[in-house]
């Protein structure tokens, strides 16, 4: 891969990328498929959900002058990146319709720092733009789906970043691990399960396969994270049609499942959810207390703890959009989530993701009458 070191060359490349992103929305994937991306640039995408059009979701930022709209799907973000000293950049990006209701994909071709600034900007647009998160189960599920849907490609996991719990003298701690492998996905998953790791991202290569012969050079290298960010090197068209399509499908299915949960949307009939854990988590009273402590710290919320021992019962709100929930931990392996008067799908997604990230990952199901 070539590397652009000359500042003028880099600028020229950025201008060219901006033209691609600002072309007609239907043409953008085709243009990106033709683009060779030099270092330190990368083509990255992030899956988003919005009930509004993207123009409407970013309207306030346009008024503030932080974002300039070139086309209804193409924008330029004025943002500072880096620290001491920071520099101001104008970062072009596009947000394309992902082909599923309310699902979108933000795309940029830029260096890491710029991308991180763009992700921060997009995340901060909640609740107008809802960041989609993938649980470990969903992340693995998407990749398994991907493997089945691409029989002419051989998928090899190259890198995994994960979190694992370790015992220290001062108690349990989380440790980040990053591993480079050349493993088949199934072998890797056994390894992850054995070490009770939580996967944060997976990088894998796609090698073309003809009959039983596999190319040694990957046609696409792709990294997928729990934040539904996809970073690619290689064939954009393959990534767009396979990886992105699968992540979008997983996100769309989940957000649809979380929608219409608020009592006002349902003529006051309840639609509770349950987060089910494989282990009898709440047999340990310390875990009940830890759950309550974790939820007390739910950012940007109002909360009231009604019971914390031996079971947990609390209510909390999402101040961003006024959604509210009641949480019960009354059995040893489950948290019941009761959406209240208002509960948007975005707020449910944010709450569940927070519980997964800060407490423990489980599986969400409907919790209607048992």
């Amino acid at each position: 891969m070539t590397r652009l070191t000359d500042a003028r060359e880099r600028r020229k490349f950025e201008v060219f990328v901006e033209e691609i992103l600002a072309s007609a929305a239907d043409d953008v994937p085709g243009h990106l498929a033709q683009l060779s991306v030099p270092d330190p640039f990368r083509l990255r995408m992030k899956v988003l959900y919005s009930r509004d059009t993207i123009s409407a979701a970013l309207a306030q930022q346009q008024k503030l002058g932080n974002v300039h709209e070139r086309n209804p799907h193409a924008f330029r973000l004025n943002v500072s990146v880096g620290r001491a000293p920071s520099r101001k950049v104008r970062l072009p990006f596009a947000i394309l319709d992902a082909g599923r209701p309310n699902m979108f994909v933000a795309i940029a071709v830029c260096a890491r720092e710029e991308w991180q600034a763009l992700v921060r900007f997009l995340d901060a647009r909640y609740p107008q733009l809802v960041p989609v998160y993938l649980s470990q189960r969903e992340l693995i599920g998407s990749i398994k789906t991907l493997r089945h849907s691409t029989p002419d490609l051989d998928l090899r996991v190259r890198e995994m970043s994960a979190t694992e719990k370790i015992e220290t003298e001062t108690g349990k701690r989380k440790r980040s691990v990053r591993e480079w492998t050349d493993e088949d996905l199934d072998n890797l998953l056994v390894h992850v399960e054995d070490r009770r790791q939580i996967i944060n991202s997976l990088r894998f290569d796609f090698h073309r396969r003809i009959n039983d012969k596999v190319d040694v050079i990957p046609t696409l290298s792709c990294k997928v994270t729990r934040k539904a960010i996809v970073e690619i090197s290689g064939k954009f068209a393959v990534a767009w049609d396979t990886v992105i399509a699968d992540v979008v499908a997983a996100g769309a299915e989940k957000l649809k499942f979380f929608s219409q949960r608020g009592l006002r949307d349902r003529n006051y009939s309840a639609s509770p959810l349950a987060i089910h854990f494989k282990k009898q988590v709440f047999d340990d009273l310390a875990e009940v207390r830890r759950f309550v402590d974790v939820m007390r710290k739910y950012p940007h919320s109002a909360y009231a703890v009604e019971h914390g021992n031996p079971y947990a019962h609390l209510q909390l709100s999402d101040r961003y959009d006024g959604s509210s929930f009641e949480l019960w931990a009354v059995t040893s392996d489950e948290i019941l989530v009761l959406p209240r008067l208002r509960a948007t799908e975005g707020a449910v997604e944010r709450l569940i993701h927070y519980i997964y990230d800060e407490f423990r990952e489980g599986e969400v199901t409907d919790a209607g009458a048992a």
């Binding site: 609740p127 509210s324 059995t331 919790a367 009458a369 048992a370």
Partner: protein
Amino acid sequence: MPELPEDEQRKVRDAAEDYQSTVHAMLAFSAFVVHDATAQRPNSHFGFGRRMTTSKANVVAPSGTVTPDIVAQKSDSYGVVAEVKRSLPSDRTKWAAHVEQIRKYDDDLTGWWTSDARIATSDTTLLLHQTRSRAFIKVLDDERKKNAEAVGPYTSVVEFNRSDERQVNYFFRLEWGDVRDADLSGRLREGVAVPIDKVIRTFANVKFYDADPPLHSLLALLWIDYFGPLVAAVAYDENLKAFPIDVSSAAIADELQRAYGSQLLEKDDRSVAFPNAKVVRKALDALVTMKLAMALPRGTSEYRVLYRQFNDDILLRFASMLKTPAEKVIEQAAFPFDERQVAVTGSAAESPRRKGHTPDPETKPAAPSKSRKKPPRK
């Protein structure tokens, strides 16, 4: 806001919990009567606080109206009327009033869900928390010795508790008297455990019955659940340092009844509405005292709630503020809201930080800190 001492905090939470537990126990007992193991029985119904008419022969209140906590009809020929007492006054001389109350219910009451509103067989049950059941039974026996008519012939005592074992259950057991339904009697004698999670799943949003909830619980619910979503529609008022939300007690009571109260249960001309507008007005008046609302002189809205974002436990905050003398409220309510409050929504430009969503300092104001400053000393 002064922080409540730990034992006060426990009492505050216990009061909220007691109310919720009572609702759950009522639901669990009602479900025990009206459901078999798989589905609701034919012609079965239940209601909380249902208006029932006593007979002319009623020894306490002939041809009057009574509102038992639970009226549960198992079939069109058998039903149970129950009163629930999670706690009793420590002064046992006051317990005789409860004996008289259940005596009124042990009668040929009218108001059942049958063609003539009467039922062939009904029993009266006092659902008592386990901690008080034995002592109350002694009082019941004493009253009966004094006067054979003091306790009705078809009255029983069922004790209940919440077992906080690995699986949290409501447990019911017949401790005194009997019920005339062989199936219910047999099971109650052995003891019936109803898992709390089944109650929550089945009646996920029933949060009230026909007794008023503790004020701090109601205020916490209103603040988190009712006013929170309304903030999006109003602009922050710099002078009031709050989001002004105009509300009416009738509209709030109506929505609470639909979402969490009486309208979730069967409704007819004998059912009662809960929570009622009176208790909602009481809560709003308390907010006025706390300087978190103002009464409006006219119009459809009676109150303007001055919504502010609290970063501590809302239940404890309201319990503490309810204890605060009115003349001290001004200085306490002003803290920690002398800084600008951040808009709840409307514009994401104003939405502050959350985990994994680092705020962009160029595009939005800073979020209010979760850490609380000490109030200035006066």
